[in-house]
């Protein structure tokens, strides 16, 4: 439930900046490890390339087409926008551009690789001549291609091209629409088109670029190493002092992170704070040893401190990390300042516009995020299923990057997806549980498992979760609930709960005689959907709004309600208005049955609906559908004294709940902690 973003390094390596590295030169630090050339050799190479392109004596592994040069800052800003995901996709291409520019010779010297004057490169002279050939429709490129040094595979020479083309045209003349051949007109990343000589140039520049970056890194690490060590030492000491259960490695790890990554400075404190809470210093050492494994688990389960949205400092930090543009909400209600304010209406177009620019996001995750944002998917089961399916697809398409462990990298990936989804809409408790489950499964993957096995095992885990925890659980709940429906009953339900709908439909199908009262509320009017479906199936329905609840309750014999979550003190966390319905029913001595799958249970204790809730769009409550004349609240945001509050959830105290129907049977609310305690393992670890 927290707004933590995973380290950007993992989701987008291009953003990573260590020390004094210019934007496009960041990757070399990483590629260094696969290009084990000595500094001396690289320096030599750079020296050599300054005078003339070295013949390819130094060969790099083909895979490590590393970047290479530190372009002058002006250049860097001109070719890539500051937002890193877009910029030069393959560092090699930036290199190539420059090397090509030299040859074309129509660019100024400041862009030249490592200050090599344009005239130093032999090819530039030839091309200066060639570029005068023509300068508008026929590119200098075309003219140059005659010299057989074309970088692109487009016309090797124009005559060749025509021959090829006419051949195709002849073949195509017969059919109405022939399959036309694709001709590559320009290339970004593909190297095959590069001629031998050019590649040599490329290699040379690459080498010396790597060398440069290597020396650079050497410096930065030297400078930083001491600070790093000290930080580690300090963290260790701190951990010892606290006598905390925080494993030194994590503490020092966070310290390291804090040291190397400025952006993450916020994170360590909460972690450290957690330590003492979990294991107070008074705890004896033996006990600690015994405790350790479960403690580790527990630490994972402890909900990280939730983002408090009235904490300006944090909000600023989060905003900077956010993928989705965060806007300031106006006229916030004082009591609910700590909650994420509703801003979705303005986010959607912004996010849609960026569709192609969010690099690390898997398409299906993105789609689900958009659907959350636009309200196309709502309801905790629906959101949960949608999220799981998106993750399943993401896992299917996932491949571990080289030199990374699947377990770690995939967990980070999933975390980045989750934080994106949170930005779209705050997580529901059921989703939180589900994510915990998935991460656990990933963490529990044996190291020996191959990647494909691991992936398929995770996918089947997800399938199983959906099937067992949602689909079958619903069936069980239906079976249980139907026993509580007798002929002649009048059942009341509120809003639109998928389980309740299935119960009603099933009871109707097994031939029970009953009547349904659907209570609805603005602004979502979800009850109408339920009403529509039930009426279509031939159920006898009454539809009313929640303000008539006390009137309609007279005739009701049972109340069936859905829930977003049931907390361990028996509090039912559900769509706003549920509490009101339950209280009125209780006053009328009508039994209230809550239908909720056990995977939505949560061990949290919540006494009110203030500390944790979700804010909806305040605008929708100011408008009345079908009543354009009721416009008194137009431009309400301009009035500083007016705040609109559109809460999404409320908490129903357990006193008003007669029974909770779950997949483990029908229980009183007081038994929820038992379920949470006894079946938690099963819920999360299947």
């Amino acid at each position: 439930m927290d707004m933590r973003r995973p380290p950007r390094t993992v989701s987008d390596p291009k953003v990573r900046q260590v020390g004094f590295v210019t934007p496009s030169a960041a990757p070399p630090t990483r590629s260094l490890s696969d290009a084990p050339t000595t500094v001396a050799a690289a320096v030599a190479a750079s020296a050599a390339s300054a005078s003339s392109p070295p013949s390819g004596e130094i060969s790099l592994p083909g895979s490590s087409l590393s970047p290479v040069m530190i372009p002058p800052p002006r250049h860097a800003s001109s070719d890539g926008r500051p937002s890193a995901p877009v910029a030069v996709p393959n560092p090699a291409s930036s290199l190539r551009r420059d090397s090509l520019r030299i040859r074309v010779g129509s660019y100024n010297a400041s862009e030249v690789v490592l200050g090599t004057p344009p005239s130093a490169s032999p090819s530039s002279r030839t091309d200066n001549a060639a570029s005068e050939f023509s300068d508008e429709t026929m590119s200098p490129w075309h003219g140059r291609s005659g010299t057989a040094k074309a970088a692109s595979s487009f016309p090797g020479s124009s005559s060749e091209m025509i021959v090829m083309k006419t051949g195709v045209g002849g073949g195509g003349g017969a059919g109405s629409t022939p399959k036309s051949p694709l001709t590559t007109a320009s290339v970004v990343k593909t190297l095959p088109g590069i001629s031998e000589k050019e590649r040599e140039v490329l290699m040379g520049t690459q080498n010396d670029g790597a060398g440069a970056s290597k020396t650079l890194k050497e410096k930065t690490t030297k400078a930083e190493r001491r600070a790093l060590q000290e930080a580690q030492r300090a963290a260790k000491a701190a951990a010892k002092e606290a006598g905390a259960g925080v494993k030194p490695s994590t503490a020092s790890g966070s310290a390291v992170v804090a040291n190397t990554k400025q952006g993450k400075v916020v994170k360590p404190p909460p972690q450290k704070k957690d330590g003492p809470q979990i294991a107070p210093p008074s705890g004896s050492s033996e006990k600690k040893v015994v405790d350790r494994p479960p403690e580790k688990d527990r630490k994972k389960d402890v909900p990280a401190p939730r983002m408090q949205f009235d904490d300006k400092h944090r909000v600023e930090k989060a905003k900077r990390r956010a993928v989705v543009n965060q806007f300031e909400a106006k006229n916030r209600v004082e009591l609910f300042r700590h909650l994420p304010q509703y801003i979705h209406g303005t986010q959607l177009p912004d996010l849609e516009g960026k569709f192609f620019q969010l690099d690390p996001m898997h398409p299906s995750v993105y789609k689900v995020g958009l659907q959350y944002l636009s309200g196309q998917i709502s309801g905790s089961n629906a959101r949960c299923i949608a999220m799981l399916l998106a993750f399943r697809e993401a896992i299917r398409d996932y491949s571990t990057p080289p030199e990374k462990a699947l377990v770690r990298d995939l967990t980070a990936k999933i975390s980045s997806y989750v934080s994106f989804l949170i930005e779209c809409r705050p997580l529901s408790i059921s989703m939180g549980n589900t994510i915990k489950f998935l991460k656990n499964r990933i963490a529990k993957l044996p190291d020996t498992m191959s990647e494909s096995e691991a992936k398929s095992s995770l996918q089947s885990d997800i399938d199983r979760f959906i099937n067992e925890k949602i689909v079958i659980a619903d069936k069980v709940i239906i079976r249980h609930a139907v026993t509580k429906i007798r002929d002649g009953d009048v059942l009341l339900t509120y809003g639109l709960s998928s389980v309740v709908e299935m119960i009603l439909v099933y009871a109707h199908e097994v031939g029970k005689q009953f009547r349904v009262v659907i209570v609805d509320s603005r602004p979502k009017l979800e009850g109408q959907v339920l009403l529509h479906r039930l009426v279509a199936k031939g159920l006898n329905c009454t539809y009313t709004h929640i303000n008539a609840i006390s009137y309609i309750m007279h005739e009701v014999t049972r109340v069936f309600l859905g829930a977003a979550s049931v907390l361990s003190n028996g509090t039912v966390y559900s769509r706003v208005g549920t509490a009101c319905v339950a209280m009125v029913a209780n006053a009328f001595r009508v039994p209230v049955l809550i239908c909720c799958e056990a995977y939505k249970f949560h061990e949290r204790v919540q006494l009110d609906s203030i500390c944790s809730n979700e804010l909806g769009d305040p605008d929708v409550i100011s408008r009345v559908s079908g009543r354009q004349d009721l416009n008194h609240l137009d431009n309400w945001a301009d009035n500083e004294n007016l705040q609109l509050l559109n809460l999404s959830y409320d908490a129903t105290p357990s006193d008003y709940v007669s029974m909770i129907i779950t997949d483990y049977g029908m229980l009183p609310p007081s038994s929820v902690p038992v379920i949470v305690r006894e079946y938690r393992r099963e819920n999360l670890w299947i």
Partner: protein, 461 residues
């Protein structure tokens, strides 16, 4: 994997007949300069800005393909990965797609017309498409208001322009689904045929004529390929494929196994419940998990046989225009240098115009705002340029007046000419005291001394 599982096809067209005499063998439509940049560059740069770097450009005609390919490889050599495909002339947009359909592999295809000048992010269309799991999503833009109000054009031209200017679009009340699309042959007051089944399903249709189909579509690839395979008569996307999909959206013949979750807003529920309806759990539950709920689906007997046609309606603040007529050509030129100047990619001077440092101005020559003067052009004394674009290396004598016009490259204009509302192509020579009003002069044409032309199209025979 293609980015976000989208592939991009740019239909660059060939030598459009409508744009005679501006286009020719040497200058296919895609290379027609708009503010001294080929019009295709606007699309390519838009796509590049959206991080779409793997493109397929389909060109009609071998020669045109060669030229466009050559230009792209020069201008975008290490920025974009472009494949150029040539198709025979006259195959239409559907034919062009058919030619490249077998190369497409991604889940969805974004099809962009090469003559589009816009700043609507293609990602928005793609995202809407993805969000709805639609079969097709079309970009609709507010139709340009100022453009077609010219009196000088003949009746025939008017008619040719109509389908673009006056798309009749039917939308559901939430303005997300496309229920009707007709070309504007009919007047709005006249009868419009609307399918009863669709009307019944939605409850009410909003008919609009103020929207323009911008020819940017997102298609589901499998469906598109099916249609192209099965309906070999289909010639154009807008006139055949799109209406077909819209027509059959409640009784789909194309929805393959992948598109099951398409109980769209056209279900029998009253339309204001669209979104709530869609938001239900069964909607997203995939086939595997849908079976257990089968009894929940009975109210929608043909839920599996529907597909969604969606629209993305661009914000009014966005600029969007298609270069599909001579009028549009001058409009776009004017707008790109004027009100939509952010599209041009140039930085404007304090006088709100662009004068290349290498351009030479004579004494007492004025260049007004919203003008562009490219490199190497020379103006003599006492000239006046207003709201016009002048290309490279033009030689313009003294006492020349250029208003509301486009002068391309290497044009020679001798003393005392007056050009108003005209388009002068490359290598044209205007001898002394020529007066042009609302004319188009084809490439290489020579207008002799003292010639006065009004609303004419002059081209070399």
């Amino acid at each position: 994997m293609a980015r976000m599982d989208f592939e991009v096809v740019v239909l660059a067209g060939g030598t459009s007949r409508k744009l005679n005499p501006l286009v020719s063998q040497e200058v296919p439509k895609a290379l027609l300069p708009v503010a001294n940049r080929p019009v295709l560059s606007y699309v390519l740069e838009l796509l590049e800005a959206s991080n779409l770097k793997d493109l397929i450009v389909v060109v009609e005609g071998e020669d045109a393909a060669l030229r466009i390919g050559g230009w792209i490889s020069g201008a975008y050599v290490d920025r974009l990965h472009v494949e150029v495909a040539a198709v025979p002339e006259g195959v239409g947009t559907a034919g062009a797609l058919r030619a490249v359909a077998s190369y497409l592999t991604a889940n969805d295809v974004l099809i962009v017309s090469g003559d589009l000048v816009t700043d609507v992010p293609p990602g928005a269309v793609a995202a809407t498409h993805r969000r709805h799991s639609a079969v097709v999503t079309a970009l609709l833009c507010p139709a340009p208001v100022s453009g077609p109000s010219d009196t000088g054009t003949s009746g025939g031209k008017e008619k040719a322009k109509k389908p673009v200017r006056c798309n009749i679009v039917g939308l559901d009340p939430t303005r997300q689904y496309l229920l009707h699309m007709a070309t504007g042959w009919v007047e709005v007051e006249k009868d419009i045929r609307v399918q009863k089944s669709i009307l019944r399903a939605v409850g009410q249709i909003e008919i609009r004529v103020d929207l323009m189909d911008a020819h940017m579509y997102a298609f589901k690839r499998s469906v598109l390929q099916d249609i192209l395979d099965q309906k070999d008569k289909f010639h154009s996307i807008r006139q055949d494929i799109l209406p077909y999909l819209i027509r059959t959206q409640l009784n789909s013949e194309v929805s393959d196994n992948g598109v099951i979750k398409s109980e769209s807003g056209m279900d029998n529920i009253s339309s204001q419940n669209d979104l709530r309806w869609l938001s239900q759990h069964r909607e997203i539950a995939p086939s595997a998990f849908q079976e257990p709920h089968a009894f929940g689906l009975k109210s929608l007997p043909d839920a599996r046989r529907t597909h969604k046609c969606c629209v993305y309606i661009a914000n009014e603040s966005k600029y969007c225009a298609r270069l599909n007529s001579i009028q549009a050509y001058s409009d776009i030129n004017r707008d790109v240098v004027g009100e939509a100047s952010h599209l041009s990619g140039y930085s404007f001077s304090a006088q709100n115009n662009i004068i290349h440092p290498s351009a030479e101005l004579g004494s007492k020559t004025t260049v007004g705002p919203q003008c562009m003067l490219a490199e190497g052009s020379k103006l003599g004394d006492k000239c006046s340029v207003k709201r016009s674009v002048i290309g490279r290396h033009c030689r313009i004598g003294s006492n020349v007046k250029i208003v509301n016009s486009i002068v391309m490259n290497h044009v020679t204009i001798e003393d005392g000419c007056s050009i108003q509302g005209s388009v002068v192509c490359s290598n044209v020579q205007l001898q002394e005291r020529v007066v042009l009003k609302d004319c188009q002069v084809g490439a290489g044409y020579v207008v002799t001394t003292g010639g006065e032309h009004k609303s004419e199209s002059l081209a070399r025979k």
